[in-house]
Structures are given as structure tokens and as C-alpha cells.
């Protein structure tokens, strides 16, 4: 829960410029490649070198070295896997549950809808951080608790969007038309409601992924994420913070990478969102 992490999914923005989108896409591709095969870019992220501790960025160490003499750039590259995976899994949880519950709420009877909507509210009553803290209390600090916490905390966002969308689609003329063709309820849901509800979800998920990564960084910063020595971005920021006075690069450079990733995801997501909106408008 960093500040931006609960950035509402509903925010729509101007069209990002073509160059920006290209750059963002490029960056994301790099990040993905790094996440899949980090060794392409960097060596062992855990190799400590007590003799070269907290050295400033140089040709040998692009992002300098950290408090154990590890290559910060290498850790950032390897961290892509952790951070992206956390984000992806958390978002997948959120989208999965949110889709199911949102669809249920949108299709269900008034009272069931009300009950479900209230439970989304109750979940939203916990700021993400508090929810995450509770999970940490239950599961202990670590990736699992973090992922579940972020997934659950961001779930209501998706559930609400899906519910609203379901309500809209339910009312849509083409559903009435399908009734005119004698479609059964299940058929209606599967052929018309679900596909049309699903439409905006992937795009929301891409933008939401950025949020999840930010959220993970914030929680790791508080020590609730993957444990050292995992090169997770948030954890790196957290570790580096103690050396801000003497080695800004251990904090700022990984931070810039996090920011770039989130910006890229947002830019690409919004581009797709506009595509989508343009298509359905």
C-alpha cells in the first residue's frame, strides 16, 4: 500500500503518445525476458563480495553494489521474476475471484446481490495494508501471505466492475433478443453475458498488475514480503533505505525500475483500454 496502489481502476486517461506506448512495450518485453531468463542479463544475484560493499555505480556494476557487495543491477534483473510473479499471481487471484463473485452478484437475486456487494464493502473497509498485515500475522511474512493479501484486497475492484458490467449487459437489448430466440438462461450467460463482461477485464488486469506490483513493493518495504536474500524489488528498496545517506543507488535505482515498470504497464494498459472502448463505443 503504497499510496498509489489502490489507484482506482476506473480512472481513464488521455491517449498516451505513440512513442510512449512503444517505449513502454519495449520496456515490458525486456522485463518479461528478464523475468524468464535473468541469467541473460546478469549473474548470481546472491553472490556477495564483502570487499566491494556499497560501491557507486560503475562499468562493472551498473547500479553499484549493495551492503553485501552484491551487484544491484543483477539483483534488479533477478528481482523481475519475483516482483512480476507476485504481481501476476496476486492479480490472477483478484481477477479470478472478482470475476466469479462479480458475475454472481450481477446475475443473482436482489438479496444475494446485496449480500455480496456488502461483503465487497466489508473487504474494502480494510485498507490493503491492514489486510496484508493481518495476513502476515496469520501466514508470517513471505510471498504467500503477500500474494493472497494483495489478491484479496484488490479483488473488490474487479468484482465491482464485473458486477456493474454484468448488470449493464443483462439489460442490454441483445440479451432480450436472445430471449426472443429462445435461448436458455445458461446459454444467455455463456454466450452473451460472460463474453461481454469479460471484455474489459484483461485490460483492467494489466493496469491492475501495475498496482499489485506497487502494493507488493510497499509491503515488502515494511518487511512483509519475500525474505532476504530474495532479490525482490520492494525488499531491495527496503534494505537499501538504511544506506540512503551513503549509497543512494541501492534504493533509488531499483525504485526507478519499479516506477518504470508500473508506468509501462499503465501506459500499455490504457492504450489497450482506449482500443477497447473505441471498439465498443
Amino acid at each position: 500500500m503504497t499510496i498509489a496502489l489502490e489507484r482506482p481502476l476506473s480512472v481513464r486517461l488521455r491517449r498516451p503518445s505513440g512513442g510512449g506506448v512503444a517505449a513502454a512495450t519495449g520496456f515490458l518485453v525486456l522485463a518479461l525476458v528478464a523475468a524468464v531468463t535473468p541469467s541473460l542479463f546478469a549473474g548470481d544475484p546472491l553472490a556477495a563480495d564483502p570487499l566491494h560493499v556499497l560501491e557507486a555505480p560503475s562499468a562493472a556494476h551498473w547500479f553499484g553494489t549493495d551492503q553485501l557487495g552484491r551487484d544491484v543491477f543483477g539483483r534488479v534483473v533477478h528481482g523481475a521474476r519475483h516482483s512480476l510473479l507476485i504481481g501476476v499471481v496476486a492479480t490472477a487471484i483478484a481477477v479470478g475471484i472478482g470475476l466469479l463473485l462479480g458475475l454472481l452478484a450481477g446475475l443473482a437475486h436482489k438479496y444475494a446481490d446485496e449480500a455480496l456487494s456488502r461483503s465487497f464493502d466489508a473487504l474494502s473497509a480494510f485498507p490493503l495494508l491492514l489486510l496484508a498485515l493481518l495476513f502476515v500475522a496469520v501466514a508470517g511474512p513471505g510471498t504467500v501471505g503477500l500474494v493472497i493479501a494483495i489478491g484479496l484486497a484488490t479483488m473488490p475492484n474487479y468484482a465491482r466492475v464485473v458486477r456493474t458490467q454484468t448488470l449493464v449487459v443483462r439489460q442490454a437489448g441483445y440479451v432480450t433478443q436472445a430471449v426472443a430466440f429462445g435461448d436458455s438462461r445458461l446459454r444467455l450467460v455463456l454466450r452473451h453475458v460472460l463474453p461481454n463482461v469479460l471484455g474489459p477485464v484483461p485490460v483492467l488486469a494489466i493496469i491492475g498488475l501495475g498496482e499489485a506490483i506497487l502494493a507488493a513493493a510497499g509491503l515488502s518495504f515494511l518487511g512483509m514480503g519475500p525474505q532476504p536474500p530474495s532479490p525482490e524489488w520492494g525488499a531491495m528498496l527496503s534494505e537499501g533505505r538504511g544506506y540512503l545517506n551513503v549509497a543512494w543507488w541501492t534504493t533509488v535505482l531499483p525504485g526507478v525500475v519499479v516506477t518504470l515498470t508500473v508506468i509501462s504497464l499503465t501506459v500499455v494498459g490504457r492504450r489497450l483500454q482506449r482500443r477497447f472502448e473505441g471498439r465498443s463505443a
Binding site: A48, P50, V136, P228, P229, G242, N245
Partner: protein, 512 residues
């Protein structure tokens, strides 16, 4: 030892000092004291009967003198007269007894009752200025209790009337040179001079301690002049202080036990002494310390800190730091194959050892040190040290269930013997080694009963030889130290004798 206060000139009275400290005390009741870092606060407004001298001996403080009976079962303490609590009540033998009664009260201070006062039979008020402590068995550590914060004397009136007795606060009165007059949780604690102090009053009119948890924030606050003193300066930031002509930096080595890794001998692999030796050999402690603490840490060779009179200097340089030997030992012990990740394997099991650290109590870059050790033992000997920093509950549970192979700890007890009782005795409260050794227990008992310093030191020397050299039970790493950084205008800053932690504000002055 004191700090370099030459620049601050002669002591002057007056002024208000702001001091940035790392730890906010959980409680302000000295009886409930559990954090070494809170010690510098406790002594501002509370005092105990005895205190330490530079060499680890005891000197009277609120007491005017004490004597032990020959059998070591009775301690008679003479009290100062004319001392009053800040709430106006008088300090006397009855007050002392009231404090002990309170400490033994159900649910008030279970740890003190169970550990420090376990050998106390009764307390007798002989007269208004004399108290007699009767023990069930000889126990020199009673003196340590009398000089500890838990042994501090609180006004019996306030003990009865305090709103939140266990949390302490402004309504708990002591006899110290300062009076606690304001506590803003999460922010700061404020003392003002106790004008009616029996002795030389404090130099400072007021002193404010601000809780600055982040080291970078503490250092920043000092360098930008918002506080005049800070404690707890991490190694990486020390250069910033020493490089600044208007600041000073001083260090004190803590008393008690050194920061060490204790091997869990109750199960594999550390039930095998060869593996324990190999682990010590695999690690070049000096290099690791140099990397992590940038050359500011003092290497420990024994479980007892080097400043303690009980320290066995002969252990220095006798073991460890030999990767070749470590590998040979491990090969001999059957850990002679390696897996894909380069770790040693025996019978299909990786040579994995787990270190569980409790997040709220990790300090002093010990999690980093753990990572450095982790990297080192992997590189040099293929040992898989798994470090996890978890919450308190999880940590306690893991320790209870024996789901660990390495236990890390340092204790800041002023008397190292007290620490060893907890750590090494078969029934020790924090015996995480899991050793059940008659020999060790015998030595500990002997040490606790020995009244004369040299014979006591001899007993502990034998003990150290056994657990460090002979049995390889422990891997001492470094002697915990405290740092004080201050503006050159501040004088009289000192570390507590023996304890080695920053002292109270009593001796401190602020030059104009």
C-alpha cells in the same frame, strides 16, 4: 568509558538537550524493563541500590554499603538516608521491601520472579535504613539484580496508585536526578531536572529523547542539527559522523554475552561435532564482519564479551576460519557429495541449517550479517544456511518446536554469568542449544556461588573452554557495541560502566 568531551569544555549547568534514540521503550516501569536500549532512560529517574564500577565490581548507589554472609545466603544492605522520591515520599527499608513484594506479586513481573529472584527466600526490614536479603542457596547474581533496572526502587505510593502500573509513566516516581514529566508515545519522552536531588543536581535543565527508529533519520537529524545526540550509529553511517568536524563519535562495547550463533545439538546435522567445527571453519568471521560492519565491529572469540572480567582471552585465534579444513571435516563426516546447487548432501539430504530471526528484535544489521554468513558458508563449504526473519509468534513457535539449527543471540546482562545461566544451563530459559550437560550445569552453579572474583573467573574460564573450544557449541561473532554520536557542544556523554550501553543524562552538559 567516557567520550571525548574536550571540545565541550568544563561542565556547565542549564540548557535543554534533545537526544535521538533508536528504541521506544515498551514500558517505562523499570521493574518491567526488558530492552537494553531502554536502559539509558531508566536511570534518569530511577536508581537501584548498587551500581557497577569500571571493572565489573559493585559499588553502592542508593545503598551506602552491603555485605554478604560467609555462607553466601544472606546479604545485608545499608541504605542511604535523606533520600526522597520525586513524589515527596521517603526512601527507606520499607520502600525497598515494598518493591520486592510487588515484584513477587502474581502476574506483575513473572520473568523477574522466576529468574532473578528465584533463589530469594525473604526480605527482612532490619531497621529504617537496613534491609536483609535471605537466599535459599548461594547466589552472587543477587548483586546483579540489585544493580539492575528491575531492582530499581519505585515509590511504594506510586506503585499503589499508578493508573497503568505495568506501563509506567509520569505517575511512577523514582529517586533519580531527573523527573519524567511528559511522554508522547511514538514521539518523544521528556525529563526535567529533579531540583531536590540529594547530590549534585543534573547539569541539564531538561532533556528530550526523540524516538527515531530509522538510522538514516537519526543521522540526518544529527547532521542537520535537530538533535544534539544520537545513539545507534550503523557502521555504514559512521564515516559521515567522523568526517564532520562538528560531531564526535564514541563507542562502548556491551557487557553480557557476545553476539553468537548457538548450534542446536538436539538433532542432525549439529548433533555431530564435526559439522559444528566445519561450520566455524567455513566462516571467515573477520572478513564477513569487515564487509558488514565496515571494520567497526569487534570480533568476539568467546560467548562472554571481551569487556567482562570473566572473559577468557586465551580463546582468541584458536579456531575457525579455515575453509580447507572445513571441507575436509565435512567430507570425513559423510557430507561428501554435492547437489546441483553446489550444496553438500548426505544420504540424499542437503546440508541445510536454519536460522530463524524474530523481526521485532533484529537490530544492528544482524539480518545482513546473517546473509553474509549465508553467502560465505555456501561459497566456502557448500553449507545451506537458510535465514528467515519472522514475526515474534512464529519465531517463538519455531524455537519451541525445535525447527531451527542455529539460534542467534546476545544478552546485555551486566553480569555475563547471568546470561550464561539462561543460555547454557540444562533448564535455562533460553537454552536453545538443547545441551543437557552435567558438567556445564556444575560449572554454572559453581560460578553463581563463588563469591571471590578470581575464583569465579577461573570457573568461567573452564566453562568457556568447554563450550567454545572443546565442544564447539557456539560460534561467537562479535561483541555488541553501542555508539554515541554528538555535537561537539555536548559534554559528559558516557557509557555505563560494565554494561557498556549509553549512560543516563546525569553527567551530560551542554556548553553555551
Amino acid at each position: 568509558g567516557g567520550t571525548d568531551s574536550a571540545a565541550a569544555g568544563e561542565p556547565v549547568s542549564g540548557g535543554a538537550l534533545t537526544w535521538g534514540i533508536e528504541t521506544e521503550p515498551i514500558t517505562l516501569n523499570p521493574h518491567q524493563y526488558a530492552q537494553a536500549k531502554a536502559r539509558l532512560l531508566v536511570w534518569n529517574n530511577f536508581e537501584s541500590l548498587l551500581t557497577h564500577d569500571d571493572k565489573g565490581g559493585y559499588v553502592p548507589w542508593l545503598a551506602s554499603g552491603y555485605e554478604a554472609s560467609a555462607d553466601g545466603l544472606t546479604y545485608t544492605v545499608k541504605l542511604r538516608t535523606g533520600v526522597t522520591f520525586s513524589d515527596g515520599t521517603t526512601f527507606d527499608a520499607a520502600a525497598v521491601k515494598a518493591n520486592i513484594d510487588q515484584l513477587l506479586a502474581d502476574g506483575y513481573a513473572p520473568a523477574v520472579a522466576a529468574v532473578q529472584l528465584k533463589n530469594l527466600k525473604s526480605v527482612d526490614v532490619v531497621d529504617a535504613s537496613t534491609v536483609k536479603y535471605n537466599l535459599t542457596r548461594p547466589d552472587v547474581l543477587i548483586l546483579d539484580f540489585l544493580s539492575s533496572p528491575q531492582g530499581a526502587i519505585v515509590s511504594p505510593k506510586s506503585l499503589k496508585e499508578a493508573k497503568n502500573l505495568k506501563a509506567g509513566g509520569t505517575d511512577l516516581a523514582g529517586t533519580g536526578p531527573f523527573v519524567l514529566d511528559r511522554y508522547t508515545p511514538g514521539q518523544e519522552i521528556h525529563y526535567k531536572k529533579n531540583p531536590g536531588y540529594r547530590d549534585r543536581p543534573a547539569y541539564l535543565d531538561e532533556v528530550t529523547y526523540r524516538f527515531l527508529k530509522e538510522s538514516s533519520v537519526r543521522v540526518g537529524a544529527l547532521t542537520s542539527g535537530q538533535v544534539q545526540v544520537i545513539e545507534g550509529v550503523p557502521a555504514t553511517d559512521q564515516a559521515q559522523i567522523t568526517g564532520n568536524p562538528s560531531l564526535t563519535l564514541s563507542k562502548g562495547l556491551n557487557s553480557g554475552s557476545a553476539y553468537s550463533y548457538y548450534f542446536n545439538v538436539t538433532h542432525a546435522p549439529f548433533d555431530d561435532i564435526k559439522v559444528r567445527q566445519a561450520f566455524r571453519d567455513a566462516l571467515d568471521v573477520d572478513t564477513v564482519l569487515k564487509g558488514v560492519y565496515r571494520g567497526t565491529a569487534t570480533r568476539a572469540w568467546s560467548v562472554i564479551g571481551p569487556t567482562s572480567p570473566l572473559y577468557d582471552k586465551s580463546l582468541e585465534g584458536t579456531y575457525g576460519g579455515n575453509a580447507e579444513r572445513a571441507n575436509a571435516t565435512l567430507d570425513a563426516a559423510g557430507w561428501n557429495t554435492r547437489d546441483a546447487d553446489g550444496y553438500r548432501v548426505k544420504d540424499g539430504k542437503r546440508l541445510t541449517v536454519r536460522l530463524v530471526q524474530s523481526a521485532p528484535f533484529v537490530r544492528d544489521r544482524r539480518e545482513i550479517l546473517a546473509q553474509a554468513v549465508q553467502a560465505a558458508v555456501k561459497q566456502s563449504a557448500g553449507i545451506d544456511l537458510q535465514v528467515s526473519v519472522v514475526d515474534q509468534g512464529t519465531a517463538t513457535a519455531a524455537l519451541e518446536k525445535g525447527e531451527y539449527e542455529v539460534f542467534d543471540n546476545s544478552r546485555a546482562d551486566t553480569d555475563a554469568g547471568a546470561a550464561l545461566n539462561l543460555l547454557l544451563a540444562s533448564n535455562g530459559a533460553i537454552n536453545r542449544l538443547g545441551v543437557q550437560d552435567k558438567g556445564i550445569d556444575g560449572l554454572l552453579d559453581k560460578g553463581q556461588a563463588a563469591q571471590d572474583a578470581t575464583s569465579r573467573a577461573a570457573v568461567y574460564r573452564d566453562l568457556q573452554q568447554k563450550v567454545i573450544a572443546d565442544d564447539s557449541l557456539i560460534l561467537p561473532l562479535y561483541a555488541p557495541a553501542d555508539q554515541i554520536a554528538a555535537s561537539k557542544k555536548v559534554g559528559g556523554l558516557q557509557f555505563e560502566p560494565t554494561a557498556g550501553v549509553p549512560g543516563s543524562a546525569y553527567t551530560v552538559w551542554l556548553s553555551k
